[in-house]
């Protein structure tokens, strides 16, 4: 699959405070909020059955497993980071057609979820919640 433009969000994982306290270390067992990691919607058959990006019209999404590295560039800040898969997600099918824009750069559908460390390393505020990004193989 070639590079894709999509929405990115963030999620907590690993040991945490507050409502995140029960999040756990994710499908790969390695996820931590402070690490440079992300969730991917097609890490396994079971994962894909939950996230269902195809229901949003996204076809041909590559199967990539724990530890696989993606390079992501924020379409808001231009910053680029490299992170590795640590969990299954986001649940793309819950937000089909959702669109976020930044300075005229727009993207639809949630395809990647970052840890707080990674999302903020893109130069994005955690309070923004969503952002358009470009995703490639690292």
């Amino acid at each position: 699959m070639a590079g894709i433009t999509a929405e990115a969000s963030w999620f907590c994982c690993g040991n945490a405070w507050g409502p995140c306290g029960s999040a756990g270390h994710g499908a790969c067992g390695t996820c931590n909020s402070g690490s440079m990691q992300h969730a991917w919607p097609n890490t396994s058959d079971a994962c894909y059955a939950i996230t269902r990006p195809d229901s949003c019209g996204i076809t041909g999404m590559s199967r990539r497993t724990c530890g696989f590295r993606h390079a992501t560039t924020s379409l808001c800040t231009g910053k680029r980071i490299v992170t590795s898969i640590a969990d299954c997600g986001p649940q793309t099918d819950l937000f089909c057609g959702e669109r976020s824009c930044c300075g005229g750069n727009c993207a639809s559908n949630r395809v990647i979820d970052f840890t707080p460390a990674a999302f903020s390393a893109l130069g994005l505020s955690l309070s923004s919640g969503l952002s358009p990004v470009s995703i490639d193989v690292a």
Partner: protein, 200 residues
Amino acid sequence: MTSTMDRRSLLSRAALGATGLVAATAMGSLAPETAFAATQQFADAGQPDPNFAEGLIMGRNQDLLQVQGSDGRLHRIQLTGVTSVWKLRPTTIDQARIGDGLYARGVLLPDGILAAEAIWVNIVNLTVAITAIGRNGVQLDHHGQKVVGHVQSGTTAAVYNGTPAVSDLSMLKVGRHAQVIGAWRPGTNEIDIATIYTSN
């Protein structure tokens, strides 16, 4: 939040000034430029980012926070005049209080203090199902756990399928899934809602 070189350099200078470390070593390794240069080396994929911290605020000495990381590590986080602070809304550094949770991004100085460029206090980002809607809030199901979401007049906003944020929450519907950015009320299962993203 911006992260230009000027801002990071300014941040380092502010933090170093605040902690009185400017002329601290004969090696000169504490110069702001040194601290900033170190931040240009991003953490490897999958590894902890040394320029990021999370945990609960256990102590505060003026603008230096003692934070107990959820993984057990201790962090010292220096707030400065250029630190941006979010606690339900953009606010001031005095609003970071003992017992609060936080995420912080900044510059890790050679003495182990994280000079904070930004902190997000009590921030949560939850994927939930809406189970009930009341006059002043919504009941949420977060992976089987009940979370009470309070509406804060003048702050809480809704985004319906990517439309611009509005204060009108009337299109929220029971049974719908949503993503909620909010501020946790420490020690409870309650949050104040900043933004709720959902379909209509």
